[in-house]
């Protein structure tokens, strides 16, 4: 158990050291989300009606949730690369904890997610977003985001070990994650969607998370959303962490 903790920290450190040296990933965490915020706020924002909220207030929690989900791509791509370059073989031949390579990756994602959440919040505030709730609620919202992002990293870790190349990580991840985030309450009110799509959106975990964020940051009626979001996040870890670890054990490096 001590081994698991120290090895996980060593791998997390490795992933954080290398981050500034891989500019393409860093751009993904910084420039790209800012671009999306600006596009939605100024291109679509004028045409989308969100009763009860300014669009910028409605948008920021949604887009931050989407962005946090995509944060796990660093894990998916990184693991895929480690397998194809044989680094996983090196790790598996070492007397280290079997779960640490994945644990370290997903742990590092928490740090990168915290970075991009900060960047998005600052951008949001500049273009007019404000918290409507107490400091504690706002902080709880950030905690929930990190928890959800952590869960999603495990899902993407599994994807990264499942497919054969970084290109397929991108396409599988994109096809799986993009519609999920868009067919939710992240960018538009669910009520505006046609039948079928609307029901899907209502049950979509992303809607649960986004609505939980709106209640924590904007004071929207909470319902069971916050608890629902916590349960969803934990459930994702509970399902995909064992799947990813088992996949890792059998990963044939070459």
């Amino acid at each position: 158990m001590r081994r698991l903790v120290t090895d996980t920290l060593i791998i997390a450190e490795r992933n954080l050291i290398r981050l500034p040296r891989a500019p393409e990933l860093l751009i993904g965490f910084t420039i790209q989300p800012i671009m999306f915020v600006l596009l939605f706020r100024y291109v679509f924002g004028g045409a989308i009606r969100t009763p009860g909220y300014d669009y910028v207030d409605f948008l920021i929690p949604g887009i931050i949730v989407q962005n946090t989900a995509f944060g796990g791509f660093a894990t998916a791509l990184g693991l895929n690369e480690d397998v194809s370059k044989g680094l996983i073989d090196r790790f598996r031949s070492l007397p280290m904890s079997r779960a640490a390579v994945l644990g370290g990756r997903t742990l590092a994602d928490i740090a990168t997610n915290a970075l991009s959440i900060t960047i998005l919040l600052v951008t949001g505030v500049i273009i007019g977003f404000s918290f409507h709730t107490s400091f504690l609620h706002a902080a709880a919202g950030i905690g929930l985001l990190l928890l959800f992002g952590y869960g999603f990293s495990w899902f993407l870790a599994f994807i990264g070990l499942l497919v054969s190349s970084p290109e397929s990580v991108n396409s599988v991840g994109f096809i799986a994650v993009f519609p999920l985030t868009f067919i939710s309450s992240a960018f538009v009110p669910v009520e505006s969607m046609p039948d079928g799509l609307r029901q899907f959106a209502e049950y979509n975990p992303f809607t649960v998370i986004v609505d939980a964020m709106r209640s924590l940051w904007l004071g929207a009626p909470a319902g069971n959303y916050v608890w629902g979001a916590v349960v969803w996040s934990i459930a994702i870890v509970a399902v995909f962490a064992p799947l990813a670890v088992s996949r890792y054990r059998h990963a044939a490096g070459r």
Binding site: R14, R18, K85, R90, F91, L94, P95, G253, R254
Partner: protein, 345 residues
């Protein structure tokens, strides 16, 4: 870590590993003595990489047993991992970390604390002539430098047994020579090395013992000299002058050998019964029939000849230079199967 002397460092018995329909290891038997280099020769798809992966605890065999330093690769895997080093043709280092960061990370994953791990990393970088590049990300390294770093990473914990999977494949001749020197240094310190290679000169130079495997089975074993002796003695090669009839020369030289001489591209090759006097005898016989000789040489069989005779195909003809991913390394297998073993006998 001391082991009873006389005990084999690597002991493989009846090892079987299948990937779907493909039998990568088919009852392989193998032994390596402590402090020796065992060279594993074989074409692509022979099962070399699969064996290394089994011995390095990366994959579990389907049948048979494999013990390293007396530890079973499956049941005692955790203990065994403390005592082995693995380096290969893929140079498994993190490109975005510096050389020193890579080695420090590996040291810490062996359970060392940061300070000593870093010191050991520096020591290895010094030894492998990488100290000046210690603080550069390894993506700026040349192929040879990466390979040396990969080998250094395998040595972090001073393992008594080292697995080197085609360590010089794709390297330029100079890098290759320097890597050979490093390996010889390790062996001089008492490390047991299992080395897979497609290069016969590499096996000839480094290996105390050579195991030739093909189709997942051991087909010959011995020192380089023993293997060459199996092919019989010396071979006489006669290049004829332009216009001379090779078949006349072939008939003239036939009595010197137990098997009929062969003709390859104008060169008549004769496996002579004995070295002494055979050049003089050949010249006499050839001049009797009036066959003009351009060049004439007597040579020992090379490992290439051994390989060709044993496996029915040349060693390097299937060499993969591109290091493509191939889970079992067995993609070329069917291809190999088609090649008849007609030369074998």
């Amino acid at each position: 870590m001391a082991r009873v002397t006389g005990e084999a460092a690597i002991e493989v018995e009846g090892l079987v590993k299948r990937f779907g329909d493909v039998c990568a290891l088919d009852g392989l038997e193998l032994t390596a003595n402590p402090g020796q280099v065992l060279g594993l020769l074989g074409p692509n798809g022979a099962g070399k990489t699969t064996l290394v992966r089994v011995l390095a605890t990366l994959i579990v065999p389907d049948a048979g047993s494999a013990r390293v330093l007396g530890l079973d690769v499956h049941n005692d895997a955790a203990e065994l991992r403390e005592r082995i080093g693995l380096a290969g043709q893929y140079a498994a280092v993190d490109e975005n970390l510096t050389g020193l960061e890579n080695l420090t990370m590996v040291g810490r994953l062996y359970g060392e604390t940061r300070g000593p791990a870093k010191a050991r990393g520096r020591e290895l970088l010094e030894r492998f002539d990488l100290i000046e590049a210690a603080d550069r990300p390894t993506k700026t390294y040349s192929g040879g430098m990466r390979r040396r770093l990969d080998l250094a990473a395998a040595l972090v914990a001073k393992p008594p047994v080292l697995f080197l999977d085609e360590p010089t494949t794709g390297l330029d001749p100079r890098s290759r020579l320097s890597l050979w020197a490093v390996i010889e240094g390790l062996v001089a310190e008492g490390t047991t090395v299992l080395l897979t290679t497609q290069y016969l000169d590499e096996a000839d130079r480094l290996a105390d013992n050579i195991a030739v495997i093909d189709h997942g089975r051991l087909i010959a074993e011995g020192t380089s000299d023993q293997l060459k002796d199996r092919l019989g003695g010396e071979r006489l090669e006669v290049r004829l002058e332009d216009g001379a009839d090779p078949q006349v020369a072939q008939r003239a030289l036939a009595p010197m050998s137990d098997e009929p001489p062969t003709i390859e591209g104008g060169v008549v090759k004769v496996n002579v019964r004995q070295r002494r006097g055979s050049i003089v005898e050949a010249v006499r016989r050839l001049s009797e029939v009036g066959a003009g000789v351009e060049d004439l040489a007597l040579r020992r069989p090379t490992l290439d000849d051994v390989f060709l005779a044993l496996t029915g195909h040349a060693a390097e003809e299937t060499a993969d230079g591109d290091g493509e991913r191939d889970p079992a390394g067995e993609r070329d297998r069917e291809h190999d199967d088609e090649r008849a073993r007609e030369h074998a006998a």
